[in-house]
């Protein structure tokens, strides 16, 4: 049961406040903000209590999304609901930020009114909600040259129009009846998150790949969509299919709306996508990777005679040559107050950030098969052999477009009934580093 829902900016401004049951006063917002800002580092923030009142909150898009409840409710339900609410608002407003929430407050009030009644969650499905929601989203579109580049000379199709612009999926689902004139698109994204620990000897100590197939649908009506996965896709250790390199995952679960009658035979998922974004399938691969990890690091750490710590990092990208990484960032923990650096190319940059006590090395572009190196000289006061222990671990954050670690591919995407020519289908792959740690 939900007493109130409110959304606060990170500075504590009230963006949205809705009271469903009239049990608690509006000062709960202030109480919450005081509590959440007074937390120390080791106190878990998710659930906080003030007298009889419990606050459950999540942070998304730099905002606090808070639910208050007086009864003892299920934390799983509340947290999941808040997460769902954020995706819903993202679907309707296009993006999730303080600005978009401020601009679309009327829409958000309308949504909240339909989603929750008397503190009970009614529905979060866009199929039902689309009948009720009347307000249109307000978006701010910064003028961008990229929009122009999609149109070729004399309106001819350019190569680029075959690739969806990266911002294409960040628009509100409702605007289809507005200016964009029924541009019905469907995006199927395969998103994988890697969490990897590589030991100092280069041995993989831990690998987890969590993957999702997300469908973001802008079509007002779509009866059925068939998503074909690799035929050799197999689940679990024992079951292997096909002859080639198997695409294997350990665990796999599907959205409850997915029909699986053709999955066993042909690896086809059947869904009736509703508007907005949905996770159709989730899977997990742990302990092994079908290919080498995408990045290898060869660190050397020495002391020079001037009492400085020399850190020589050689980073190799083991992806196939055509793939490129978008803006990876390497960070190395150290307590040193000053830094001098030698990087292998001028467009990279490195800096020492005091708040994280780490050296951040930003690389704008890192093609597959390439090797980069950097030499950092760190001034460490009172350098001793123990200071060497304090350096590390190295963390990498990166985003690999058009690449999946597990090798999962989408063979085809078919919509029935066949839509008129205006419908566009996009398949996108991306791999994120959830946590890519290399011990020194």
């Amino acid at each position: 049961m939900i007493s109130q829902i409110f959304i606060l900016s990170s500075k504590g401004d009230h963006l949205i406040y809705k009271d469903f049951r009239g049990e608690v006063g509006k000062d709960a917002v202030t109480v919450f903000y005081e509590k959440v800002t007074a937390l120390t580092g080791d106190q878990p923030p998710v659930v906080m209590s003030h007298k009889e009142l419990h606050f459950v909150h999540i942070r998304q898009g730099g905002l606090y999304w808070v639910v208050t409840t007086t009864a003892d409710s299920s934390p799983f339900t509340l947290v999941e609901f808040l997460n769902r609410l954020t995706t819903l608002i993202k679907d309707y407003c296009g993006s999730l930020s303080e600005k978009s929430v401020r601009m679309n407050f009327a829409l958000i009030y309308e949504l909240l009114d339909e989603v929750v009644d008397n503190g009970y969650i009614q529905t979060t499905s866009t199929d039902i909600l689309k009948n009720f929601i009347q307000t249109e989203a307000v978006t701010s579109k910064p003028f961008s040259l990229f929009d122009l580049s999609n149109v070729g000379l004399f309106g001819a199709e350019t190569q680029q129009s075959k690739v969806a612009p990266s911002a294409a999926a960040a628009r509100p689902i409702m605007s289809s009846r507005g200016d964009q004139g029924g541009k019905s698109e469907i995006f199927v994204d395969v998103v994988e998150r890697m969490s990897v620990v590589i030991g100092s000897n280069g041995v993989l100590m831990k690998v987890d790949v969590e993957g999702q197939i997300r469908v973001k649908c802008y079509m007002p009506s779509c009866l059925e969509m068939r998503i074909g996965l690799n035929e050799e896709f197999s689940i679990g250790k024992s079951q292997l299919r096909g002859y080639g390199a198997a695409v294997r995952v350990d665990e796999c679960s599907f959205h409850q709306a997915v029909k699986l009658d053709e999955f066993d035979q042909h690896r086809i998922l059947k869904v009736c996508p509703s508007q907005g974004e949905h996770v159709v399938m989730q899977y997990l691969l742990s302990d092994e990777l079908p290919s080498a990890p995408p990045f290898r690091l060869f660190p050397t750490i020495e002391r020079d005679n001037g009492g400085r710590l020399l850190m020589y990092l050689k980073l190799r990208c083991d992806l196939p040559p055509k793939r490129a990484d978008r803006e990876p960032c390497v960070s190395v923990c150290s307590r040193s107050p000053s830094l001098s650096q030698e990087l292998s190319s001028p467009d990279q940059k490195a800096e020492l950030r005091a708040e994280t006590r780490a050296v951040h090395w930003d690389i704008p572009r890192f093609p597959g098969g390439a090797q980069l190196s950097a030499l950092f000289k760190l001034e460490v006061p009172g350098l001793s052999s123990a200071s060497m222990m304090e350096v590390g671990p190295v963390g990498l954050s990166f985003e690999l477009p058009k690449y999946t670690c597990t090798g999962l591919q989408i063979r085809f995407l078919r919509l029935t009934p066949v839509q008129a020519g205006s419908s566009q289908r996009w398949v996108r792959y991306v791999t994120h580093s959830d946590s890519y740690t290399i011990r020194i």
Binding site: H14, L15, Y17, D19, G22, G41, D42, Q43, P44, P45, V46, V47, S49, R59, D72, S73, S74, P75, F76, T77, V79, E80, F81, L82, N83, F105, A106, Y109, E110, D113, D117, Y120, Q122, T123, T124, S125, N131, Q134, M205, K206, D208, E251, S253, F254, H255, Q256, D287, C333, T356, R357, A386, M389, E390, G392, P393, G395, S397, S435, Y436, T437
Partner: protein, 804 residues
């Protein structure tokens, strides 16, 4: 700016709302209403616009209607009379052909929360229950619950309740779930919906039609149902089994909660099986992209582990911390990791935890170190190695936590004390915070006999006691010094004296002062009593070797499963409550112990005066034994007359020394331990061997000199180090404290080390390597001489081990 110009804005908005041009233009009207809501949600009080907004309600524009309702619902309670004006519009809307408008009107009518409007609302609500459109029925059902909460003491309308019960069979699943919710609220006094067999089976059959939220609600209500037979129970369980593996975490949790409540009494084996089955989805939730969901799942994993310790042992890698995870997740994960440790994975887990110890966030580092300490209770060797290594980093916060962890570890695992004592040497310089220093002091006090530098570390602490801020450190220092005094009296006596003096005379904190007085009086009672009070347990007596926790029955925590409770508990509570509290346990005097005197102020003053007057501080009753130590047997009772102290003044010149030394009695050479008494009672010469390591003679003279001076023994002359025979001449004055009948004496001494040569000659001791001490005293006082020899041997012992 909205906060500053609030009143201006309200005025301007009122003008705009009442402007007929604006009212005539739907778009302008809507945007003005929109501005009102925007200003309202920014926190400006716009209650003054109420009547204008009521007028704006009468419109065909649904968006504007919705906006106005948002406004009205916020301010209706402030304007009950004006709200009556809205009711007409709302009731008219309830007849609208568009079901969306009907449901909107009905919902907002009940959301106004005005008791005065109840009579107008009942009729549309009753009609709403039979509406064709499901969305209106959904709203109407919950509307009754809202009405009930407006008048909680009014009689319950039996007809409505019956209607709601029958609507459980409604085609729309949301209506069904809303009926459940409404009935739960209306019948709260009677314990909620009566779940009989028919209703339960109906709900179970319709479960798959509901969406995720509805399923959670239904599963929650079903917890109250008790199946009539075991057969029925198993039917229900097998029906629910697929939901246990639901990809939606809330449904999985609600199902597991239902399983636990259904079979936690009678069938513990089934509930354990359910826990095992739910392990996979729960693990998946622990890896969720949302940190909050991760945290919720982790807290529930901790619950599960209480009944099935080591359940997820093979999945320990899933609980390794990510690089950029928030600190609270990292700490939870470490707590779970500690529970999962087994023989196979302990190496990997420790290796991983070791990596977190140098984390930039001190909280995370601290959590990692204490996690290692917890694992150390089962795998002490590996953990101590890591902890000792961390001390080498010489980082303030790390050292502090490591020492605290070691203290907790030693308390639970006494077998580790050896290695802990070794590791402690030299870490006192890095410790800054009071928690860490308290831990160090506790360890020094309890294991003072094994840490060779203990008295000197304590002395350093005592010297800085004036600048010490934390009272906790002072009390711990008092206890530690007392304890070390009990096992190494000679080296600590003076330190203790100064500390007691300071605490009794100058300390402002009452606790510290009282404790000092307590110890002071305790020493009066005699050394054995002191010992029995202070030398309590060195380890937790309630624990044997601790490997893993015993499994709790599921029923212990089943009630708190899937509630906020597991998330609310702060992480401190669970961890340190029962075991990690060795502080002062042994310290509190037992009530049966007869402290010599009740406290009374006059005696108080007397005693402090006594303490002040002499620099040896333990004036005791005449029966008190003399400076006891591990080497000396307890002296015969009644022989001593107080406590011995040494002092350097008056100083002797080398000439005087030489004169006295040569003029005194001569010891018979080669008969150590023998004692030749001169005719005159005034003078005595004693010769003894001390088993001090020969390394002593390698130590540089200033160091030895300092060590001896600390014990108030003045060195007179040295032979250079590394020469044989090696000699040291020294002297001191002994003084008796308290009302002792004897006066001061002067002791002169010679240390002689001849190397191995003499030993091979085969003397009485059979080749014992050691130092020969010759001491001359005048006037003669056997007890004082014994005391001196003890102090000397203690000082030599420490300085020799210290210099190695």
């Amino acid at each position: 700016m909205p906060y500053l110009g609030g009143e201006e804005t309200v005025k301007e908005l009122r003008r705009a709302l009442s402007n007929p041009h604006v009212q005539g233009d739907p778009l302008r009207h809507r945007s003005t209403v929109l501005r009102v809501i925007r200003v309202m949600s920014q926190g400006v009080d716009v209650a003054g616009l109420f009547s204008e907004m009521v007028k704006a309600c009468a419109t065909t524009d649904v968006v504007q209607k919705k906006l106005v309702y948002v406004f009205l619902c916020s301010y209706a309670s402030l304007n009950p009379e004006l709200s009556l004006l809205v009711i007409n519009t709302l009731r008219k809307d309830c007849q609208d052909p568009n079901p969306m408008v009907r449901s909107l009107a009905l919902r907002n009518m009940t959301n106004l929360r005005l008791p005065s409007l109840v009579e107008y609302v009942q009729q549309p609500l009753t009609a709403g229950l039979r509406d064709r459109a499901a969305c209106v029925r959904r709203v109407a059902v919950l509307g009754w619950a809202k009405l009930h909460s407006l008048q909680p003491h009014a009689d319950i309308d039996a007809a409505v309740v019956n209607e709601l019960y029958s609507m459980l069979r409604d085609n729309d699943p949301v209506v069904m779930v809303n009926c459940l919710r409404a009935l739960e609220e209306i019948l709260k006094e009677e314990g909620g919906v009566a779940v009989n067999k028919a209703i339960a089976h109906h709900l179970l059959n319709r479960l798959k039609e509901c969406d995720v939220w509805g399923q959670c609600e239904v599963l929650g209500v079903l917890q109250r149902y008790r199946p009539h037979s075991e057969e029925e129970l198993f039917d229900i369980l097998s029906l629910l089994d697929p939901y246990l593996l639901s990809p939606s975490v809330p449904v999985m949790a609600a199902t597991l909660g239902l399983f636990l409540s259904l079979c936690c009494r009678g069938l513990p084996a089934v509930s354990l099986a359910a826990l095992r089955r739910a392990q996979a989805p729960l693990l998946a939730a622990c890896g969720s992209a949302s940190p909050e969901m991760k945290f919720t799942a982790l807290c529930h994993v901790q619950l599960l582990l209480r009944s099935l310790p080591g359940l997820m042992g093979e999945h320990y890698k899933r609980f390794f911390c990510g690089y950029a995870e928030p600190a609270y997740i990292k700490q939870r994960k470490m707590q779970v990791l500690v529970e999962l440790v087994n023989d196979d994975n302990v190496g990997f887990v420790l290796d991983e935890l070791k990596g977190y110890c140098t984390d930039v966030s001190p909280d995370t580092a601290q959590a990692a170190i204490s996690a290692i300490g917890r694992i150390g209770r089962s795998y002490s060797d590996q953990c101590l190695e890591i902890l000792t290594g961390l001390l080498g980093l010489k980082q303030e916060h790390i050292t502090s936590v490591v020492v605290q962890t070691m203290r907790d570890l030693v308390w639970v695992c006494p077998q580790c004390s050896e290695s802990v004592c070794e590791a402690l040497e030299g870490c006192e310089d890095t410790l800054q915070d009071s928690q860490g220093r308290q831990a160090l002091l506790w360890l020094l006090g309890v294991h003072g006999d094994r840490v060779s530098s203990a008295p000197y570390v304590l002395e350093a602490f005592v010297e800085q006691v004036r600048s010490e801020m934390a009272a906790g450190v002072k009390t711990e220092l008092l206890t530690a010094t007392m304890r070390v005094f009990l096992c190494r009296p000679a080296e600590t006596q003076d330190t203790l004296g100064r500390l007691l003096h300071y605490c009794i005379e100058e300390e402002a904190d009452m606790n510290v002062r009282d404790q000092a007085l307590l110890y002071y009086r305790l020493l009066h009672c005699g050394i054995e009593e002191t010992r029995s009070v202070l030398q309590g347990r060195r380890s937790d007596p309630s624990l044997g070797v601790l490997i893993g926790r015993p499994a709790e029955p599921v029923s212990q925590w089943a009630r708190s499963f899937n509630t906020l409770e597991p998330l609310r508990q702060c992480n401190a509570g669970a961890e340190s409550a029962p075991q990690a509290a060795p502080y002062h346990l042994a310290l509190d005097p037992e009530p049966s112990l007869d402290l010599c005197d009740p406290l009374n102020p006059s005696q108080d003053r007397q005693e402090t005066a006594a303490a002040e007057s002499v620099n040896l501080l333990l004036p005791g009753p005449s029966a008190g034994p003399l400076a006891p130590g591990p080497t000396a047997g307890p002296p015969a009772p009644g022989s001593g007359g107080g406590q011995l102290g040494l002092s350097l003044s008056p100083a002797l010149s080398p000439q005087q020394f030489e004169h006295l030394w040569l003029g005194g009695p001569q010891c018979p050479h080669g008969e150590p331990g023998a004692r030749e008494e001169e005719e005159e009672e005034e003078c005595v010469c004693v010769q003894e061997r001390m088993g001090v390591s020969p390394a002593l003679q390698c130590s540089p003279p200033p160091q030895l000199q300092a060590a001896l001076q600390r014990s108030h023994i003045q060195t007179m002359a040295f032979t250079p180090p590394h020469t044989l025979p090696w000699r040291v001449y020294l002297y001191t004055h002994t003084r008796w404290g308290g009302p002792a009948p004897r006066g001061p004496t002067l002791v002169l001494g010679e240390l002689l080390y001849t190397g191995g040569a003499e030993d091979q000659e085969g003397e009485g001791e059979g080749g014992e390597r050691g130092l020969r001490v010759t001491a001359k005293q005048r006037p003669r006082d056997d007890e004082a001489m014994k005391g001196f020899l003890q102090v000397l041997s203690g000082a030599l012992h420490t300085s020799s081990t210290g210099s190695c």
